[in-house]
């Protein structure tokens, strides 16, 4: 009859917890944190672990993690919650949406909170890598606290390199080497390709970021970092980047045609059907746990210079979150971005810890010693630039992503695509441009 007794005990415990919970709830500030899962892996589970610990350490706050899908979907759901008059207390928001949210007046600056802690904005931001400031500090006000960040990274299956008679210690460092290596790695059976030398994700959200990385490596700019109404789609550096990608598909035939989703790229790499890929550092842990072969990572190969955009997300507080909830959100944000916690999150996911001090902790030193690939990802941050951000970032980005899809499917030449993308992006940003840069004094 042990089962009965156990059931009884469990019932009693349950009843006790019900009886106790109102007492606990009193004086507790309930907040919710919207969080996305943009890459492969177990991020949702890790987030639950993280917030459980926070709640245990901060009994006066009850923070609930709310999974909100991809970066784009998180933006949509946050805006929907705000329209419904129930803004979440904090959101892990794709770093490049902050400018758009600021223009629309949907997130609040954190300057007062920072000042209340006895710090200046510069002191507060000083704890994070310099490359992350561009997408967090807007017009000298702090709108976001970097939480996890990434850059694209070249992943290479070293078994395939050896099979092809190449030196696994010498990974492609520039575009030329990338092409020759990819050609040697690609396997064909007649006209049919059985293994791709190179793959890059081109689905919405991912494609624009990868193309920005190629543009930076080609010496280009992509967008006006200081002004939300200007993108440089129809420029030589972008033409070079897009032509390079298009050539991998149509000319060298080492990269599959059409749109490839991020998940399809990592699956192909893990199953040995692709030898090299460009993917986020955020996928490091997923690849490390699932790869049944030795692999190495390297900087994104350059054409003109080593330069990549940052990716990842920052913590923001929506407009309308006030009083106790704002204070509680700030406590949560500071806790999550502390050296220890951002280090823990980085080890769990593969993202960078944006807090520089995280890399001075003993756990992190031991971790990087054991996983040198994580170290390479960090060193690339020195070459990172802000992520593309304008007024209405998502449609402006989609304008080029739709054209990228057309080029990768051989429907348009790179030049045609860029002209069309530029025209559409300018059209989308026109209201902002007309009300800011073009609004000149009349008398």
């Amino acid at each position: 009859m042990t089962t009965t007794r156990r059931t009884l005990l469990a019932g009693a415990a349950l009843a006790a917890s019900f009886a106790l919970s109102p007492a606990f709830a009193q004086g507790q500030t309930e907040i919710e944190l919207f969080f996305p899962v943009p890459v492969d892996g177990q991020l949702a589970r890790d987030m639950a672990t993280l917030l459980k610990e926070f709640n245990e350490k901060n009994p006066s706050i009850k923070a609930t993690p709310v999974y909100t899908g991809s970066y784009d979907e998180t933006l949509i759901k946050t805006r929907a919650a705000m329209k419904a008059g129930k803004p979440p207390a904090a959101v892990i928001m794709s770093a490049n949406f902050l400018l758009d949210l600021k223009i629309e007046g949907e997130i609040q600056p954190m300057d007062a909170l920072i000042k209340a802690d006895g710090k200046t904005n510069d002191q507060f931001m000083g704890q994070f890598f310099d490359a992350l400031h561009g997408n967090a500090v807007l017009d000298r006000q702090v709108y976001g606290v970097p939480f996890h960040n990434s850059t694209p990274l070249l992943y290479v299956n070293t078994d395939h390199l050896k099979e092809a008679g190449l030196d696994p210690d010498k990974l492609p460092a520039n575009w030329e080497e990338l092409v020759t290596t990819a050609k040697k790695l690609t396997r064909r059976d007649g006209d049919r390709v059985t293994r791709w030398g190179m793959m890059m994700p081109s689905n919405y959200d991912y494609g624009g970021w990868i193309l920005q990385a190629l543009t930076h490596s080609n010496g280009g700019q992509w967008f006006n970092v200081d002004y939300g109404g200007e993108v440089y789609y129809d420029t030589p550096s972008m033409l070079g980047a897009l032509t390079f990608w298009s050539d991998l598909v149509s000319k060298h035939k080492v990269h599959p045609a059409g749109v490839q989703a991020g998940g399809a790229v990592s699956s192909a790499f893990l199953s040995g059907q692709a030898s090299m890929m460009l993917l986020s550092t955020g996928s490091l842990t997923h690849i490390r746990t699932n790869a049944k072969f030795p692999y190495k990572v390297a900087f994104v190969p350059k054409n003109v210079k080593n330069e990549v955009p940052i990716g990842g997300a920052s913590l923001v507080i929506p407009t309308g979150v006030e009083g106790e909830r704002r204070k509680a959100a700030w406590t949560l944000i500071n806790w999550m971005t502390s050296p220890e916690k951002s280090g823990w999150w980085s080890r769990a996911t593969g993202y960078f810890a944006p807090n520089k001090a995280a890399y001075d902790t003993a756990e992190m030193k031991a971790f990087i010693e054991k996983n040198p690939d994580a170290g390479i990802a960090v060193s690339q941050l020195a070459f990172a630039k802000p992520w593309f951000a304008t007024y209405r970032t998502v449609p402006v980005r989609k304008a080029i992503e739709d054209e990228l899809a057309a080029v990768l499917s051989a429907k348009k030449t790179p030049k045609e695509a860029l002209v069309a993308a530029q025209k559409q992006a300018d059209e989308i940003m026109r209201p902002y441009v007309e009300q800011t840069a073009l609004k000149l004094p009349t008398n």
Binding site: I103, E104, G258
Partner: protein, 311 residues
């Protein structure tokens, strides 16, 4: 219903002409009230809101809503993505409703006899209907994966390099249509099974005595009897085509290059991604008008086929 109440009121009206008709209409409205309330709350009021929204929009960036007249409609018609979605929706409608209908009729005719094997097959064909659309789309997402997906994997065994099902603008819409047909054929089969069972056996007997072959029996007996069912399935199918976008959301998000963008998804994009409530409302109104035309004409055809004398 309303007609029945009216007649009842009139027959008894002879005895008390002064108040009975009024009481009858009170009763009619009382009976209709719950439906009217819900219609007003969930249909007419939102339509009125959409009408208002379609003529309003942000004039200043980050500013409040203001009256903009027909601006939103002009922008809508000037948008290539909208015209593309319109065409896609038409292709999608014709390309899914008719094949699902033909398939469903085929299944139903093959499985109309109640045997144990047929019962099993009916269940198998009906299975896709039970799977939620988002779940079905997630399954197809893996089937359609280029290179590593189940379809391409098996094609590779036959030394065929499978296409990029969802990543090629020429193929993506057809891939999505395949999912829709797979999902809907079993559902429509149910209606046809019911319709077929209502065809009197002596009609077939007579046809056979007259020397009709299988095609003639289908053409002159089965199809005429099924006319109302076909009409009904057509209406349901066309409504589904416009109101379902879950699979587009899961599979392609309207891409690549808007090749799988459908009207409702376009409206969603304008409203939540581009943050343009005015244009989304204008798009909704265009969709509403199209739906009205489709249902009105279908219902008229339906009525006509119901009104016809039995063959």
């Amino acid at each position: 219903m309303a007609q029945a109440v009216f007649t009842a009121g009139r027959t008894s009206a002879w005895s008390a002409p002064r108040w009975r008709p009024r009481q009858a209409s009170v009763l009619a409205f009382a009976l209709l009230a719950p439906s009217l309330l819900f219609l007003a709350l969930f249909t007419y009021w939102p339509v009125a809101q959409v009408l208002w929204q379609s003529m309003h929009g942000q004039i200043r960036v980050g500013g409040p809503q203001a009256y903009v007249g027909l601006d939103n409609f002009q922008k809508l018609l000037a948008d290539a993505a909208f015209r593309k979605a319109l065409v896609n929706n038409l292709v999608y409608a014709l390309g899914t409703v008719i094949p699902s209908l033909v398939l469903a009729l085929g299944f139903a005719m093959a499985l109309v006899k109640t045997t144990r094997v047929n019962a099993l097959f009916r269940a198998l064909f009906f299975l896709p209907v039970l799977i939620p659309l988002v779940a079905a789309a997630s399954i197809f997402l893996f089937l359609f994966l280029p290179n590593v997906g189940l379809i391409d994997y098996h094609l590779a065994k036959l030394a065929i390099s499978g296409p990029n099902w969802l990543g090629d603008p020429d193929i993506a819409l057809w891939s999505i249509m395949a999912l829709t047909i797979w999902k809907n054929a079993g559902y429509y089969m149910l209606f046809f099974l019911a319709g077929l069972q209502a065809v009197p056996a002596d009609a077939y007997e007579a046809a056979i005595l007259d020397g009709a072959g299988p095609w003639q029996r289908l053409r002159y007996v089965t199809l005429p009897y099924l006319k109302p069912t076909i009409g009904f399935v057509l209406v349901i199918g066309l409504l589904n085509v416009v109101t379902q976008v879950d699979h587009v959301f899961v599979l392609t998000k309207g891409g690549p290059s808007d090749s799988t963008n459908l009207l409702l998804f376009y409206v969603y994009q304008q409203a939540v991604e581009n943050y343009d409530a005015g244009r989304a409302a204008a798009g909704t109104l265009v969709m509403l008008a199209l739906l009205l035309v489709v249902t009105a004409s279908s219902l008229r055809t339906l009525e006509r086929s119901f009104g016809e004398k039995e063959p």
